[in-house]
């Protein structure tokens, strides 16, 4: 043995080579992963909300989605007046659900930027025993929760103030629960992609998640039916998991309303041969597109992580 090289304890796993997967980091099994996740969720929540007055925090969290909904409501009111009231429910529900998407997509990317640029802790988190992706996911949960509260309150404002028809007895609970479960996974996958991008970019990428969410807004049927888009863009919308999540949530919470997918002369009808998707088709489509997004996100994150290590991006701070 060379002089100065520490000896490895008997029975310990061999030290991995440079750039080789270190199994020791994931040692401890699912319990250790869960503990790491819960700790980063707590950390995220403390950073988000431990400093403020609860009322103020709620105002901050709700003003954004409610205003987004009001912009659309006024756009309809200006053009269609009374005639646009049926479409009002459609845009209020869509923009409320979108608040959740926005928070979810931005949360992970901002966690990366916060920890790297502001607190300069990303490198320490990276070398901690917990899996890096688990830490990042945990840090994003707080913003996802804030987004969920914003979405629920916007829906409540829509029902109470803006006259969105709502019947609690009409809710399709199985569809709602399945849509939420798969939808959260799909949104998290898109958030992981944004986090992977923000690991590579400079500090100015604060606005990137919102820009990406804004672009997905166009191809998700959130505030207008996908049918008004040109054919090729409709096709993109149909492979977007957010489109199916919104369809599922709309059909579950407000059955009988205008559907954002389908209609005469649409790509959906061309592909599937009927006017609008049935609930089981919605779930299948959400599952398929969500699985694709999740697998893609995992690959993209791993590639980004490897490149960041290779180029020393986890330890840099930037500014302009």
């Amino acid at each position: 043995m060379a002089v100065g090289t520490p000896s490895r304890p008997v029975g310990a796993p061999p030290t991995p080579g440079l750039g080789v997967y270190d199994a020791a980091r994931d040692a401890g099994g699912s319990w250790a992963v869960m503990r790491g996740f819960v700790t980063s969720v707590r950390l995220g929540w403390q950073m988000e909300a431990n400093w403020t007055d609860p009322l103020l925090f709620v105002i901050y969290s709700v003003a954004k989605p409610v205003s987004s909904a009001l912009i659309l409501v006024f756009m309809l009111e200006v053009i269609a007046g009374e005639a646009g009231r049926s479409f009002r429910s459609f845009v209020v529900i869509g923009s409320a659900l979108w608040a959740f998407v926005m928070s979810g997509i931005a949360g992970l990317a901002w966690a990366i930027l916060d920890d790297r640029e502001r607190y300069r802790m990303l490198k320490y988190l990276y070398v901690s025993p917990t899996n890096f992706l688990v830490v990042v996911l945990g840090r994003g949960v707080a913003r996802l929760a804030v987004g969920a509260v914003g979405a629920v309150i916007t829906l409540a404002v829509g029902v109470v103030v803006l006259g969105v028809p709502f019947d609690i007895a009409a809710i399709d609970w199985p569809l709602l629960i399945i849509s939420i479960a798969i939808g959260v996974v799909a949104i998290t996958a898109l958030a992981v992609v944004m986090a992977a991008i923000c690991i590579q970019t400079r500090m100015e990428s604060w606005s990137y998640p919102e820009a990406a969410a804004g672009a997905l807004f166009l191809v998700s049927g959130a505030v207008f039916p996908v049918a008004v888009l040109p054919g090729p863009v409709q096709a993109i919308a149909l492979v977007n998991p957010l489109t199916w999540w919104i369809v599922g949530m709309r059909d579950a919470l407000f059955p009988g309303g205008i559907s954002s997918v389908g209609g005469i002369g649409t790509v959906f009808r061309e592909w599937f041969g009927h006017a609008s998707p049935a609930p089981n088709e919605t779930i299948l489509a959400l599952l398929a597109t969500g699985a694709l997004a999740t697998l893609g996100a995992n690959v993209i994150f791993r590639v980004s992580e490897h490149r960041a290590k290779d180029r020393g991006l986890l330890d840099r701070t930037t500014g302009s």
């Binding site: 400093w51 403020t52 925090f57 105002i59 901050y60 003003a63 954004k64 989605p65 205003s67 987004s68 009001l70 912009i71 659309l72 006024f74 756009m75 309809l76 009111e77 200006v78 053009i79 269609a80 646009g84 479409f87 845009v91 640029e117 502001r118 991008i197 590579q200 970019t201 400079r202 100015e204 990428s205 604060w206 606005s207 990137y208 820009a211 990406a212 804004g214 672009a215 807004f217 166009l218 959130a222 505030v223 207008f224 039916p225 008004v228 888009l229 701070t317 500014g319 302009s320």
Partner: protein, 292 residues
């Protein structure tokens, strides 16, 4: 002799006393120096083109399709396009002006700014200029591409007035950014949430995608307090001269006067608040944060 060469003086006090030319030139250099990383950084970060130009264009397109879905008159699509272009400047003011001093404090640069022999107002002017250049690319891209793609037809009778309104709107917007920069620095961590609060809610009260006068009293308050609201309204009236506007909409000439008043008042408040902030920060030792 260059303004930057150290003059020989009889005493340290005499050497430290700068001429007006030296002060002016140093501040001018500060403006250029602070604008430089923003303009240069734009060319170094290639992802900026995709995320700051292409994607916001798609977001603007979403609102165009909302109007198309309800078969709105064509000028309303033009309203959305102008609104989409102007959001570039508002986002820049919020993210890269209002938050910037607080951010510099977190990064450990703020005390260096205050220690350097330059005016902090010049630093903010530099940020504003650099930010304006950054945002202009996005605004022009949204305006040109969306106009071509969605067939927007402008009806402009008074080009000069339109240009003047745009420049005045920018002056007032970045003046507001300077005021917010010092306020956000005082509010600390809450600044982050205030940033969030100042995006969609401000878009709504500014009438980003519809004539602001439709908001009634709220619209009137917005026109008298928010440069984005009054600037957008004036530009729309000048860009779509023949379009009908809701009763109560002020004439563009009146809005020009409002913008001039806003610019003067906001720049004066910015200057005052920055000086006050500097005094407070020096007195209370708050130029840096605890862990640095």
């Amino acid at each position: 002799m260059s303004a930057f060469v150290r003059r020989e003086g009889g005493s340290p006090l005499e050497s430290a006393t700068w001429t007006s030319r030296q002060v002016f030139m140093t501040n001018l250099r500060t403006v250029g120096g602070r604008a430089y990383p923003r303009v240069t950084g734009m060319f170094r970060e290639k992802s900026w083109v995709f995320f700051e130009i292409l994607l916001p264009f798609l977001a603007t397109s979403a609102f165009v399709f909302v109007y198309r879905a309800v078969e709105a008159p064509r000028e309303y699509i033009g309203f959305v396009v102008i609104g989409g272009a102007m959001t570039a400047f508002w986002l820049n003011v919020i993210w890269m002006m209002a938050q910037q001093l607080w951010w510099e404090k977190s990064q450990g640069n703020l005390e260096l700014y205050f220690a350097a022999p330059m005016s902090i107002t010049a630093v903010l002017f530099g940020m504003a200029f650099g930010g304006f250049v950054m945002s202009s690319g996005r605004a022009v891209a949204v305006l040109v591409v969306a106009t071509a793609l969605y067939g927007v037809e402008f009806a402009i009778d008074q080009w000069l007035l339109l240009g003047g309104v745009f420049l005045l709107t920018m002056s007032a917007l970045y003046g507001l950014g300077m005021v917010l920069a010092s306020l956000f620095l005082m509010w600390g961590r809450e600044a982050w949430h205030l940033t969030q609060l100042m995006i969609e809610p401000v878009y709504f009260v500014s009438g980003l995608n519809f004539p602001v006068a439709r908001l009634g009293l709220l619209g009137a308050v917005a026109i008298s307090t928010l440069p984005l609201a009054v600037g957008l309204d004036a530009m729309r009236q000048l860009a779509f001269a023949g379009a009908p506007y809701p009763e109560g909409t002020p004439a563009p000439e009146v809005e020009v006067l409002i913008l001039i008043a806003m610019t003067v008042v906001l720049l004066a408040i910015a200057r005052w608040s920055l000086a006050k902030l500097e005094r407070m920060a020096r007195r209370d030792g708050k130029l840096s944060i605890r862990w640095q």
